[in-house]
Amino acid sequence: MVSLSNLSKRYGSSPPVLRQIDLAIDKGEFVSLIGPSGCGKSTLLKLISGLTNPSSGSILIDGMTPVNARKTMSYIFQDATLLPWRTVARNVGLGLELEHVGREVRKEKVQSLLELVGLTHVARAYPRQLSGGMKMRVSVARALATTPHLLLMDEPFGALDEMTRDRLNEELLRLRAEQKWTAVFVTHSVSEAVFLSTRIVVLAPSPGRIAHQIAIDLPFPRTSITRESPQFESLVTDVSRALRGVHSA
């Protein structure tokens, strides 16, 4: 699905942000990128989306360049990035509108997505009337409206309180079970990464490179009970240890 080979990125003449990244992501995987700040995890996501270009190396998504593959991708940003002058429903429909989907189909899709994320009751509200967690849900619904095969997420729940974040994580997995997209997820939180992922990629800083890859073989469906299992605890310990190794190196 995603294949990165010998990928490097540097801005101008400064030292590289990412050096010689080789990474393959299969269809259906949920891969989290984790690492200390400055390890280039957000840059890696921007490279996959084609929002920035690599200095060398290649990126292929289903055999296409990132820019050509954009129709099959959606991006969820750190902040909700909603348009304040549009209602919730019209925000959810934005991607469809930009991709010239007809009004009737759009209306139907928006309706079903609002139901899916539990926002039907605020369809006509404006973003400023919503809490941070609800705004993020609108953002997720908007990303899913264009039925992406690949979902790129850049710390989407980083600004939320832990309870809200946990609940949204559970919802995200429920949506994934229904819609079967592949995900690349950037986060700072070890427990969030373990809970969501099928694989965790630990990045080391200066220059950004892959230090460890840890498979997360917790069974699906995962719920709040999953977080209390000893298996979950030991995986969190493993990932934290890997992350500490990267920090002190």
Partner: protein, 263 residues
């Protein structure tokens, strides 16, 4: 809404106090009416010469509104041009500042010389004075869109036109209104300045500026006061009209509109 009415009451109380002060000063200093007429004399002048006062007000309103409207259309178009590239901005922006710094009283006689006296030339003076704030604020609004919102649009393969019409333009509306609010106030100043040089645009009558010149030459100080009052009322009316439109278009989503009503 309650706070709003308190504000209005406060303003009215200050107005009443000022009137009293004026009246007291008049009685105390026993100034001749051509130096400082009493509020009552001004009131009488308003009533006695109401038709010509209204005619002057109408002319000035027409010029100021025309200049303002033209500046919104032209200013928006120029801002759209400026938003296209940093190079265009670097090349042309200094001239917007020039537009703002050149004293309008110095330019007005030139325009009247070139265009000839009349409503058109006065409207042009109002237009010039209104243009800079519209351009500056709207350009700022068009280019200050958050990068991630642009990225979002790009991820959905949005065209340049889609980014302009669905992102940059709506994002610039609050800034456009800031510009219009500033311009609305000074459009009246522009029109009156123009009229000071334009003379009578129709036989026997002119705008507020012309009538002010005439009244002062004739030492009709009471009528002069009435004219100044009319000019002030016109400025206020413009300002509040723009405030209302701003509220009407933005109260659903914009912070500035919300705080404006609440506080």
């Amino acid at each position: 809404m309650k706070k709003y009415s308190v504000t209005v009451l406060n303003a009215l109380a200050v107005f009443a106090a000022l009137l009293l002060l004026w009246y007291g000063l008049d009685r105390l200093l026993r100034l001749p009416p051509y130096m400082l007429p009493t509020p009552l004399a001004v009131g009488r002048a308003v009533v006695a010469r109401f038709p010509s006062l209204l005619a002057s007000l109408a002319i000035t309103t027409e010029e100021a509104a025309g200049g303002l409207a033209a500046s919104i259309v032209v200013g928006l178009l120029i801002a759209l041009l400026f938003a296209q590239s940093r190079w265009i901005r670097r090349m042309l922006y200094p001239y917007t500042i020039l537009l703002q710094t050149v004293p309008i009283v110095a330019v007005a006689p030139l325009i009247l010389m070139w265009v000839g006296p009349g409503i058109l030339s006065v409207t042009l003076v109002a237009f010039i004075i209104c243009l800079a704030p519209i351009i500056a604020n709207t350009t700022q609004g068009l280019i200050s869109v958050e990068p991630n919102l642009i990225h979002l649009f790009l991820m959905h393969n949005a065209s340049r036109l889609q980014i302009l019409t669905r992102l940059r333009l709506p994002h610039a509306v609050p800034s456009l209104f800031v510009g219009i609010r500033i311009a609305a106030g000074i459009s009246v100043i522009g029109a009156i300045t123009g009229e000071l040089f334009a003379g009578s645009s129709r036989v026997g009558e002119g705008g507020l500026g012309y009538s002010i010149l005439y009244a002062s030459a004739q030492l009709q100080t009471d009528y002069l006061f009435a004219l100044v009052l009319a000019a002030t009322v016109l400025g206020f009316a413009f300002f509040f009209l723009v405030m209302f439109l701003e509220w009407y278009f933005l109260h659903n989503w914009h912070e500035s509109a919300r705080t404006m009503i609440d506080e």
